[in-house]
């Protein structure tokens, strides 16, 4: 196993990477002045993976929420479940499923080797029975309902349903009460066997650790798999939104809006450079230092929660502008006018420079946290990037690259989602 050190001089840190013969990516970010460490064992299988690839090259639809269900069930084993194991070391264990991947993690300061052993072991030891699957349906059912009561969650999925047709990103990560009822132990085993393959996974750890010791421990614990992992599905879809407007009544204190511009993707993902450029562009247009923000605030049209950012991943990319407002339509028309004006006359150069500087500062500060450092590596790896790709991309950002992203805000790919108090 060849170990390569990546170093960022300005940051004063290194990340060590290696590819295990099984195909597993291992990234270690030592931070010896810290007391704690944070490790993630992640698989490139998330809620956007709504099909299972068969050996004959065909794909079969799976119930919505399967990736998340599997995440819950992997914690169980025939003997001690994972939570009981981590209780022995005191480490805080958890897991999450995002649109794009599933990650199992722990944070701890003592007995890191033991905790890491538990993590590697439980993720590689599935144990599902009809009984335990059924028990979980009650718990996940409550989790789904909890999210459905969160207006921030509802408004996003309503928007995504307007923007995308037949794209799994518009489905709640945990699925629905009905869809999870269709999940059984057999399905979980076949998903596990197909996708939980080291060549589709990463082990990322940051903190008070010795890279050599980690590489050696991980290397010994990994079980190799023979089969190849099926390709992820991607269909570009239409550049047009399915519908321009959606509203829902929920018991909230004030009207909320979320305006989205979807990007017409030719490839499954926007590049890191494009993602960062979009975020700078949105900050330069709508950030707190813009005259636009001030005017809208003074005119009583927006609240301090007004903001904009890119929401992107495998098979989706949406520039989102959101907040709460009495008159969402008015806000939206002014937002669109501001975009048109920039498309015609260009972005404010000073605003772009400020936004880049801000992004650079925030990005460096992210390395303060062992959790953020380890998580960033998972994100970067699954999108095909090296350890410090983000910092390097920010340093290369310029006015031209940022301005080019303005053309992605199109009327045909635009939709508005509104939550009305009721």
């Amino acid at each position: 196993m060849k170990i390569k050190e990546y170093r960022d001089e300005k940051l004063g840190e290194s990340i060590f990477c290696a590819k295990h013969p099984s195909g597993l990516e291992i990234r270690v970010a030592p931070k010896l002045e810290y007391d704690s460490s944070y490790a993630l064992f992640a698989v490139r299988f998330g809620s956007v993976d709504d099909y299972i690839g068969k050996e004959d090259g065909t794909y079969e639809k799976i119930p919505e929420g399967t990736a998340h269900f599997l995440e819950h069930k992997l914690f169980e084993s025939e003997e001690l479940d994972a939570f009981e194991l981590f209780a022995k070391t005191g480490a805080q264990a958890n897991a999450f499923t995002s649109f794009d991947y599933t990650a199992y993690l722990f944070k701890g300061s003592e007995n890191i080797e033991t905790s890491l052993g538990y993590l590697l072991d439980f993720v590689q030891s599935p144990y599902f029975t009809a009984e335990t699957v059924q028990k979980e349906q009650g718990i996940i059912g409550q989790e789904i309902r909890m999210y459905q009561d969160l207006p921030d969650w509802e408004i996003l999925f309503n928007l995504l349903k307007c923007l995308y047709k037949d794209n799994p990103v518009s489905i709640d990560i945990a699925g629905t009460q009905e869809s999870i009822a269709k999940i059984d132990d057999k399905l979980l085993y076949s998903i596990y066997d197909t996708y939980y393959n080291p060549s589709n996974m990463i082990l990322s750890i940051a903190g008070n650790v010795d890279p050599d010791a980690i590489f050696s421990q991980v290397s010994k614990a990994i079980k190799r798999k023979k089969k190849d992992v099926p390709e992820r599905r991607f269909s570009p879809g239409s550049p047009k939104a399915v519908s321009g407007y959606i509203e829902e009544k929920l018991p909230v204190g004030k009207k909320m809006f979320m305006l989205g511009f979807k990007e017409d993707l030719k490839n499954p993902e926007v590049s890191l450079q494009e993602e960062l450029a979009s975020n700078v562009m949105l900050e330069a247009l709508f950030g707190k230092s813009t005259p636009f923000f001030k005017k809208m605030l003074d005119d009583g049209l927006i609240e301090m929660d007004f903001g904009a950012s890119l929401f992107n991943g495998y098979g989706y990319s949406v520039a989102i502008i959101n907040g709460s407002a009495d008159d969402p339509e008015k806000v939206v028309s002014l937002v669109k006018a501001e975009i048109k004006n920039a498309q015609k006359n260009g972005l404010d150069k000073a605003a772009v420079e400020r936004a880049i500087k801000k992004m650079y500062g925030m990005s460096i500060r992210g390395f303060d946290s062992v959790g953020a450092t380890a998580n960033l590596q998972v994100n970067l790896y699954f999108s095909g990037y090296k350890p410090y790709a983000e910092l390097e991309a920010i340093r290369k950002l310029n006015y031209k690259a940022v301005s080019e992203r303005l053309s992605k805000l199109t009327e045909e790919g635009c939709a508005l989602s509104v939550i009305i108090p009721g």
């Binding site: 209780a87 005191g90 480490a91 409550q142 230092s289 500087k357 500062g361």
Partner: protein, 425 residues
């Protein structure tokens, strides 16, 4: 380790010097009794951070912060015991990482002090329009508390439980109180804060503690300080049980149990209370997690937390509305097990390990919050000192602490199903 200095009467500076982080953070918190002035104080906190004398224009102030590599400067209001706590903070990138060798931290410190001591005022007024805007924003953010039903239910339980104590007041005042605040009251609130507030300044990062102390000592020099005293009421028992209820069209009911611990002050029986509450409903090894969630599949979350500054314990859970009785019974049954010692030594050990682990603070923000939490305390302690205290807690002490828990109030948000009202064009 921390360094403690005094900048003026009732003005403490706690510094945690370190160059381990890329971020420097300084937070100036001030405690005053939580009373009818809460709304004026909350409005003041927003006005002071929106602009200042050096940057009277909101956009220019924010442009300056962006140029300082995205420094954030702001304020927020909370409560600790029966005190309202207003905090002003700045977090910024350490100078080592600036691209052109600019000094970021000094500039930020200057901005922060300017924000508190040199506001954007003319003739004792923050400006009529500025106040109107802040009232609108604050009223809307109070209304938006309804958006997160879990937090909303907790707030309502607190209000019901502490109706006759300052702690029952919302930390920002009510909508009506905010709307009726006059300009002269905001100005008076500023003067009052500087005169009577108990200041607690925490700095984590690359700071010179003498410089910070000197800076604030200078600012307070001309102020005739009369720091207030804050006494928090601790009720030994919940005496008048009541169940509050509200209905909303939503998917999941939210249940909150409010208990009194019998603590007589924030340090009373502290370690045993912490361990007891953690075994009852803290981590994944806790009674509530293991039973209400894992064994009975009644909830996704069911957890307990101790508010030591007030001697209160809350248990929160998201449930099906028609299962309230089953869940309540399960919670009380688990509490009974705590009282009678039906939990094993391994769980006690797991809880102590986890509590210690949670005290391994590894971000500038968490270290700052830790030291901030001592705002009403005479003695400031390090996480290590507290962690050692847990180890001495015995099983008997845990049972005794559980015996003293008494239910005071229950608050239930009942979910009522509605017809789906969704409009698409």
């Amino acid at each position: 380790m921390f360094v403690l200095k005094s900048a003026a009467p009732g003005v403490r500076v706690i510094s945690v010097p370190t160059d381990k982080f890329k971020t420097n953070i300084i937070e100036v918190s001030v405690a005053v009794p939580l009373d009818e002035n809460a709304a004026a104080n909350a409005l003041l906190a927003s006005l002071l951070t929106r602009t200042c004398k050096a940057y009277p224009d909101f956009s220019k102030l924010n442009a300056k912060l962006d140029e300082l590599y995205g420094a954030s400067l702001g304020s927020y209001v909370g409560k600790t015991g029966d005190a309202q706590v207003i905090s002003f903070y700045v977090t910024c990138l350490d100078d080592r990482f600036s691209l052109d060798g600019e000094s970021i931290t000094k500039e930020c410190l200057k901005l922060l002090a300017g924000m508190i001591f040199e506001p954007n005022i003319k003739n004792n007024s923050f400006g009529k329009e500025a106040l109107a805007t802040e009232k609108r924003l604050l009223v809307n953010s109070i209304k938006a508390e309804l958006d997160d039903k879990q937090t909303y239910a907790l707030k309502k339980c607190t209000e019901l439980m502490c109706a006759n104590e300052p702690y029952g007041r919302p930390e920002t005042g009510t909508v009506e109180e905010v709307e009726s605040v006059k300009m002269s009251e905001v100005y008076a609130a500023w003067k009052n804060l500087l005169k009577i507030g108990r200041f607690h300044i925490v700095a984590v990062g690359n700071f010179d503690v003498d410089e910070i102390t000197g800076l604030f000592a200078g600012k307070f020099e001309k102020i005739n300080r009369e720091p207030c005293t804050i006494d928090t009421i601790f009720f030994k028992k919940g005496l008048h049980f009541k169940r509050g209820v509200e209905q909303f069209q939503m998917k999941q009911g939210k249940l909150v149990f409010g208990f009194r611990t019998g603590m007589e002050n924030s340090n009373d029986n502290y370690y045993a209370e912490k361990v007891m509450v953690d075994i009852f409903g803290g981590g994944t090894y806790s009674k509530l997690f293991a039973n209400v969630r894992e064994k009975m599949s009644l909830a996704y979350y069911c957890s307990a937390k101790l508010i030591d500054s007030k001697g209160i314990v809350f248990v929160q859970s998201g449930i099906d509305t028609d299962k309230e009785k089953a869940v309540s019974t399960a919670i009380i049954n688990q509490l009974d097990d705590m009282r009678t010692g039906k939990f094993d030594d391994e769980t006690v050990a797991a809880s102590k390990r986890a509590l210690r682990e949670r005290l391994t603070l590894s971000t500038p923000g968490s270290i700052c919050s830790w030291y901030k939490s001592f705002i009403l305390e005479d003695e400031i302690r390090t996480p290590e000192e507290i962690a050692d205290g847990y180890d001495k807690v015995t099983k008997e002490e845990i049972c005794e602490a559980a015996m003293k828990l008494s239910v005071d109030k229950i608050y239930m948000l009942e979910a009522v199903e509605s017809e789906v009202e969704s409009v698409e064009d």
